[in-house]
Amino acid sequence: MTLAPGPLQALLLAGPGYMPERASSVAAGVDHVFGFIFWVSAVSLALIVAVTLVFVFRYRARASRQVPEASPDHSTRLELTWSGIPLLLVMVMFALSTKVYLEMTSTPPGQAATQVKVTARKWSWWFDHADGKGAKSLHVVLGKPVELVLGSVDVVHSLYVPQFRLKQDAVPGRYTRMFFTPVMAGTFPILCTEYCGTNHSQMLADVVVHEDQASYDAWAAEGRSPALSLVDQGRKLFDEKGCSACHSEDGSAGIGPTVKGLWGKSEKLVGGGTATVDENYVRESIVAPARRIVAGYDDLMPPIPLEERDMLAVIAYLQSLKEKP
């Protein structure tokens, strides 16, 4: 949107208030369109309500008013007028909004976007950044265009950042894309906006907009040190991959069995039989969770592909939680 700054723009951006901060390059454009539709609607509504009230007051039945006055029962000219003006207004809305939409769904011309691969699952997000770093939160650099490639391993989710005015569904079996350029440093919430089950409202994450590349690089270098023990690394993965959302580490009940004291136990399975929680069973339950489900739980867990090193770390972590005899 290229509106001259000034009172008009201020009016458009004012809208009804309640707007979140404008943290992406398209947010102001969206708010302009919002403001335009808002004021057109507000004036129209005021007109409808005012006319209703005035007519009710003036023409209400009373002792002195028993018979309607003569007035035409139609007027083609009038009716065409009040068809034409709304038509014109909605076409302006369409044009303004579509122009902004096309900006919202593409990278600014002449600029290369950094790609981040997003994986949605019940009920967590995972972001594989361009430099190979994976994290539970999305990290980007102020002013640098970003392209998110979204996928889902189970059901439809939707990635929403109110401050960016952007939203895109993540659909299993295909990719979808989302583009933005952050224009405000800070941390903003990521919400899931496509209903996905039990913890839909807790499927939250953050997007961190770094002031500059240096700040981003510092974050990217964190945790790279191989100092972590296998168990600690497993604990970290257990959290990062979203396992902890359903499997508690302290023995409390959850969507799936708790992992506290799970190792070595013999579990009853859905459909009969038992399984001993050993390396093979854990491995299978991560790669193909539906195959052998512990009785009393539903088949809800998505398969979670892990590198062999990570698999070993998770197994080591679970072993560390074994019940002391």
Binding site: Y18, P20, M91, T98, V155
Partner: protein, 555 residues
């Protein structure tokens, strides 16, 4: 049906008393009795859906929820949505009021296919019962939109299958009603009743029936496909087996968007009737209103993609659907302006139906105008699936449709029951419903603009105030509805005043040519076509005796 069956009630008083016994109701093919039975069941579903809604609002009093678990919350909003949409709002006006009023307004003895009409009622009832059965087998937590893969996951039990059968049956009930309505309007008018002599409620039902016939079968096939996919893993909607979940959304909205017009068009028809009668003036711009109903029905088919702007639908499809969506605003705008013009220089009588209609103007205004934000791509992207959408469609589906439904029930109540409801209680209920409604849903617009997603069992603390105001509003709204229901039912008791044939001074046939309540045959002599909005031929005798034709003879 044979001539004998129809003759049975001759001279037997009103349709309510012409035959007695439960059997005479359950097996009736009289459109009026079927309409009354629909009304009873539909009010029941409204109460059920309303109880779910209150539980939801109570749960949301605190940001962390707390009343029920997340899973229970999800089941509650799913059943609230499914019951309200499929069992209350869609069939509400056409099946209950439409069935009762349509043959009367068209001057016919019954609908074209009375036995099909009864079948349609039982299909609806079976659908409603199946929804109750899902409650028993553990509920359903898929959302009323039933999006796969979530809705068809391997872990799901019977609930989803039963619900899909319920949807299928309720859908077929709707189709058969539509077939009946179009055939009746086409073929059973008196020979001198032209197309432009039809009351506008009939034009609205006609347009509705077009959508019922052409869109509802797609709901049926969608439910059938979902059912089969869940059992046989077809690979049409489920990505696991090579299917496409976005394809389901196309199927679903191809019906469910036009379904919004199945809800709102009859509501608009009621408004047209009431605003004219209670302004004592012919409706302004009859033809524009009639044609705008048809335009809405046709354009309404072309806009389903606006529910899918962030679903992964392609960019250019989004642009096309946004354009078409903008167009559908025009016929609605025309209607609103024509209604306002009808009041100009009239004599406005502020009885309960008119009060409801006046509040309809403001509420439909908000509902329609906020639709513009969601039809425009740039603003829909942030607002989609937030409370802004929730507030918008409640303004249209609950605000506008339910308020018009209440206007219609009050308006036709004297004709249906032969009793006048209590005007004082009616007025109080109309005011409370209006206030409670706005108190409930205006804060939800603000939550949505602030970025609160829908279907959230827990939410960020910054939205607490809006949610609490909304919860309070829900109880005010409930109070209004309870008073309305009480006012209506109380009139059936001993204190209820008898209704004259034409208490409002309306000119359409159900008032000017039939008794209150009508006889089994509707009309004692075959009626002639009338100008439905020509009030000059009517003269008021008294509040008790109502209006009569100026010639003096009682209708």
């Amino acid at each position: 049906m044979s001539a004998v069956e129809h003759g049975a009630g001759a001279g037997g008083g009103s349709y309510l008393t012409s035959e007695r016994g439960l059997r005479s109701w359950l097996l009736t093919v009289d459109h009026k009795r079927i309409g009354v039975m629909y009304l009873g069941v539909i009010v029941g579903t409204l109460i059920l859906g309303g109880v779910f809604a209150l539980a939801l609002r109570l749960h949301l009093w605190n940001p962390a929820g707390g009343l029920v678990s997340n899973d229970t919350y999800n089941k509650l909003f799913t059943l609230h949505g499914a019951v309200m949409v499929f069992l209350f709002v869609i069939p509400g006006i056409p099946s209950a009021l439409g069935n009762f009023v349509l043959p009367l307004q068209v001057g016919a003895k019954d609908v074209a296919f009375p036995r099909v009409n009864l079948l349609s009622f039982y299909l609806y009832l079976a659908g409603a019962v199946l929804f109750l059965v899902t409650l028993v087998v553990g509920g359903l937590d898929t959302g009323w939109t039933l999006y796969p893969p979530y809705s068809l996951e391997g872990s799901r039990g019977l609930g989803i299958l039963i619900a899909l059968v319920g949807v299928f049956l309720a859908g077929f009930s709707s189709i058969l009603t539509g077939v009946n309505f179009i055939a009746t309007i086409h073929k059973l008018r008196p020979p001198d009743m032209g197309w432009f002599d039809l009351p506008l409620f009939l034009w609205a039902l006609y347009a509705t029936a077009i959508i019922q016939i052409l869109a509802t079968p797609v709901l049926g096939i969608t439910a059938a496909l979902g059912f089969m996919e869940r059992i046989f893993h077809l690979g049409i909607f489920m990505p696991e087996y090579g299917g496409d979940p976005v394809l389901f959304q196309h199927f679903f909205w191809f019906y469910s968007h036009p379904a919004v017009y199945i809800m709102i068009l009859p509501a608009m028809g009621i408004v047209s009737e009431v605003v004219s009668v209670f302004s004592r003036k012919p409706i302004f711009g009859y033809r524009f209103i009639a044609m705008s109903s048809l335009a809405i029905a046709v354009i309404g088919f072309l806009v389903w993609g606006h529910h899918m702007f962030v679903s992964g639908q392609s960019r250019w499809a989004n642009v096309i659907f946004s354009f078409l969506t903008m167009l559908v605003a025009i016929p609605s705008a025309i209607k609103v302006f024509n209604w306002l013009a009808t009041m100009y220089k009239g004599v406005i009588i502020l009885k309960t139906p008119m009060l409801y209609v006046l509040s309809f103007f403001a509420i439909f205004g908000v509902g329609g105008l906020t639709g513009l934000f969601l039809g425009a791509l740039a603003t829909d992207i942030p607002l989609h699936d937030t409370y802004f959408v929730v507030a918008h469609f409640h303004f249209v589906m609950v605000g506008a449709v339910m308020i018009a439904f209440l206007a219609g029930v009050h308006y036709w109540w004297p004709k249906m029951t032969g009793r006048m409801y209590d005007e004082r209680l009616g007025t109080i209920s109309a005011v409370l419903v209006f206030l409670g409604f706005n108190l409930t849903f205006i804060p939800q617009f603000l939550s949505g603009i602030g970025g609160m997603p829908r279907r959230y069992a827990t939410y960020a603390a910054e939205f607490t105030t809006q949610n609490r105001v909304s919860t309070v509003g829900a109880f005010v709204l409930t109070a209004g509805l309870v008073i309305a229901l009480y006012g209506l039912l109380a009139s059936l008791g001993r204190s209820g005043r008898r209704a004259p044939a034409n208490p409002w001074g309306a000119a359409s046939l159900e008032w000017s040519a039939a008794a209150s309540p009508p006889s089994h045959h509707n009309f004692d002599t075959p009626p002639r076509g009338v100008r439905p909005y020509d009030f000059s031929v009517l003269r008021k005798v008294s509040e008790e005796a109502g209006w009569v034709n100026a010639g003096g003879e009682a209708p």
